[in-house]
């Protein structure tokens, strides 16, 4: 940070020293120009806010039983009160509070799963593409094997064997995702490896590690970020689906999938309980997909320039 604000401002606009801030500005401008990306960002920021600060702000503790206020309908319908904005469930727990807090575990699981799955897939793809030969063949057959099975099937079987739990869930979702990364990263590595500057780097005697770090990885990054954004959407779906079937996050922790699972049994008595967790999942998945679409356009344009 410079001490003179005037100098600082000047360098932000035309100095090469501040390209980082420039690029952030460029990203923001591009997001604002795309209506869908703006909407996606607003939704995701709201959900992130709910996940981070929600537990401190909610009107009712998520597991507070209040048998006097069972099955209160949402506030706008007959018999509803503003105290329970989205109504209550069979134990008098506040649906709105649970929905807000549910964002936390849903996002934690999705982020961790993408981080773990992305790292494994990235490394596998990097190795397969760079080393080639038999190593490549073995990794690609593993990818084939993975892709032969629907992810939900693998997820359910693995969770059935491991038992419901947050750590298991993260690992299982990560495992269902690694193959996508591996395939795409490998493809990108093959493309980059064939370029003259990598040949040049090799001719200069750079170590494999440095070539991977300095020349290959940066070129693979944009695809990786795009895949990761879409994977977040997929991970949120799997978290909810596995929790919905009772093989995900333990039912004591509120997540959107768990809430839907409970709501399903109360469909006749309390239909409102089933609506909002699904809306929350849909909006989050939609936002990550829109963001991924925007990112793909944005990074492609940059590559073409």
């Amino acid at each position: 940070m410079s001490t003179t604000p005037a100098l600082n401002e000047k360098s932000a606009s035309d100095g090469p020293a501040d390209t980082y801030r420039d690029s952030i500005r460029r990203v923001l401008r591009s997001i604002l120009r795309s209506g869908t990306a703006t909407i996606a960002c607003i939704i995701l920021l709201t959900i992130a806010f709910a996940a981070i600060f929600g537990p401190a702000l909610i009107p009712h503790p998520v597991n507070a039983l209040n048998l006097g206020a069972r099955f209160v309908p949402p506030s706008w319908s007959e018999g509803g009160t503003i105290t329970y904005l989205l109504g209550t469930d069979q134990q008098g727990r506040d649906a709105f509070s649970r929905l807000v807090v549910g964002a936390r575990m849903t996002l934690i699981v999705a982020l961790c799963a993408v981080l773990v799955g992305g790292s494994i897939g990235f490394l596998m793809g990097l190795i397969a593409g760079y080393v080639g030969g038999r190593t490549d063949a073995v990794i690609m057959r593993l990818v084939d094997l993975q892709l032969a099975f629907p992810s939900l099937f693998i997820g359910l079987v693995a969770m059935g064997l491991l038992g419901a739990g947050v750590v298991q869930l993260i690992l299982v979702i990560a495992i269902t995702q690694w193959a996508d990364y591996a395939r795409i990263v490998r493809g990108e590595v093959l493309k980059v490896r064939a370029t003259p500057y990598v040949d040049g780097a090799r001719a200069l005697g750079l170590s494999h590690f440095r070539i991977l770090r300095l020349y290959i990885t940066p070129n693979v990054m944009s695809s990786l970020v795009i895949v990761a954004t879409f994977s977040l959407a997929v991970a949120i779906y799997y978290e909810s689906a596995l929790s919905f079937f009772g093989l995900g996050v333990p039912p004591s922790i509120p997540t959107w999938g768990n809430m839907l699972s409970q709501a399903r049994d109360l469909m006749l008595r309390a239909p409102w309980l089933a609506v909002f967790p699904g809306v929350a999942i849909t909006l989050t998945v939609l936002s990550f997909n829109l963001l991924g679409d925007w990112l793909r356009d944005y990074l492609d344009v940059k590559l073409r320039n």
Binding site: F149, F153, L156, V157, L161, L260, M267, I281, T282
Partner: protein, 310 residues
């Protein structure tokens, strides 16, 4: 054709690996003896059954026997039903196909015209509506869509039966199918619509399309002969590879709508840890995938003459 041979070879590797995973599931993770006779059996009984089932032999021999069984379609007996696994699975496959085929057809019949129209009227209201529908259809989790449909059409409006498979006449039978088929179809429909739209838009900017237009062909003819035909190429591959999402989808949809099919049976077997059924399904799913991927490869080679030459 060496491409096809290579794919075939890869397919066999996948099948071999899938069967091996099934073996690991059955003989290493699950203990078939305890599963069969329960925890409270005496040691003597356990030993006797173990010997009867050939489980006292070395693991490698058991593995060989298991693989030989798999080749003949023998995955052992279900713990729950005490019947051969393959028969149980196949008997339920029919009910799933009753849902899956109409779902796939619906997805195809909607996605091709909607994708083409959406691309032709890019950025107009009709495109906006189609894209919104596709985006939401892709984002809404199928188990929730199912619940919402039940709430609306079965509980609130009382137009359709909430769940199950029944009805005497064809019309009544169809009533039971409408919601599951739509729910199963939605994701594929949305996905294929987006794909079709993207493919058409990309092709519309290509040189050969411009040439066709410059030749004075009618826009309709350019669209159908030059754009849509070429867009069908990736479309065929991708719609063929929807098997996975149809299987996942049928697990969800059949469970939500209590439809007595393969997916629901599989889900119940996973929940109750009926390992022979899970292991058998694992191999069966791999077989379906490999066969379908192979057929798609062959069709693709037939459709694209460039691939045939190389």
């Amino acid at each position: 054709m060496s491409y096809i041979a290579q794919r075939l070879y890869h397919g066999f590797i996948v099948l071999f690996a899938a069967a091996s995973i099934s073996f690991v599931l059955m003989f290493i993770i699950g203990d078939p003896v305890l599963m069969r006779i329960g925890d409270d059996a005496t040691q003597e009984t356990i030993d006797r059954v173990r010997q009867q089932m050939g489980l006292d032999r070395p693991l490698i021999v058991q593995y060989g026997q298991f693989m030989w069984g798999v080749v003949q379609g023998d995955f052992g007996l279900s713990y729950r039903h005490q019947e051969p696994v393959l028969g149980l699975l196949i008997s339920r496959l029919g009910n799933s196909i009753i849902l899956a085929v109409p779902a796939l057809l619906l997805a195809i019949c909607v996605s091709i015209p909607v994708g083409v129209i959406s691309a032709m009227h890019r950025n107009r209201p009709i495109d906006f509506i189609a894209r919104t529908f596709a985006l939401v259809g892709q984002a809404a989790p199928n188990f929730w869509v199912g619940i919402m449909l039940i709430l609306l059409f079965a509980i609130h409006l009382r137009w359709l039966p909430a769940s199950g498979m029944g009805g005497e006449t064809l019309g009544e039978k169809l009533k039971y199918m409408i919601m599951p088929v739509f729910t199963l179809s939605l994701l594929t429909m949305a996905y294929l619509t987006r794909m079709m739209r993207g493919a058409v838009l990309e092709l519309m900017g290509q040189d050969f399309v411009r040439t066709a237009r410059a030749k004075g062909l009618s826009p309709r003819r350019v669209m159908y002969r030059h754009v849509v035909r070429n867009a069908m190429l990736p479309y065929v591959t991708i719609s063929g590879l929807q098997l996975g999402s149809l299987i996942s989808g049928s697990m969800v949809v059949e469970s939500v709508f209590s439809w007595p099919g393969f997916g629901r049976f599989l889900l119940d077997s996973i929940r109750l840890m009926d390992i022979p059924v899970v292991a058998g399904a694992l191999t069966l799913v791999a077989v379906m995938y490999v066969v379908l991927a192979f057929i798609v490869d062959v069709i693709y080679t037939l459709l694209d003459p460039r691939l045939r030459r190389s």
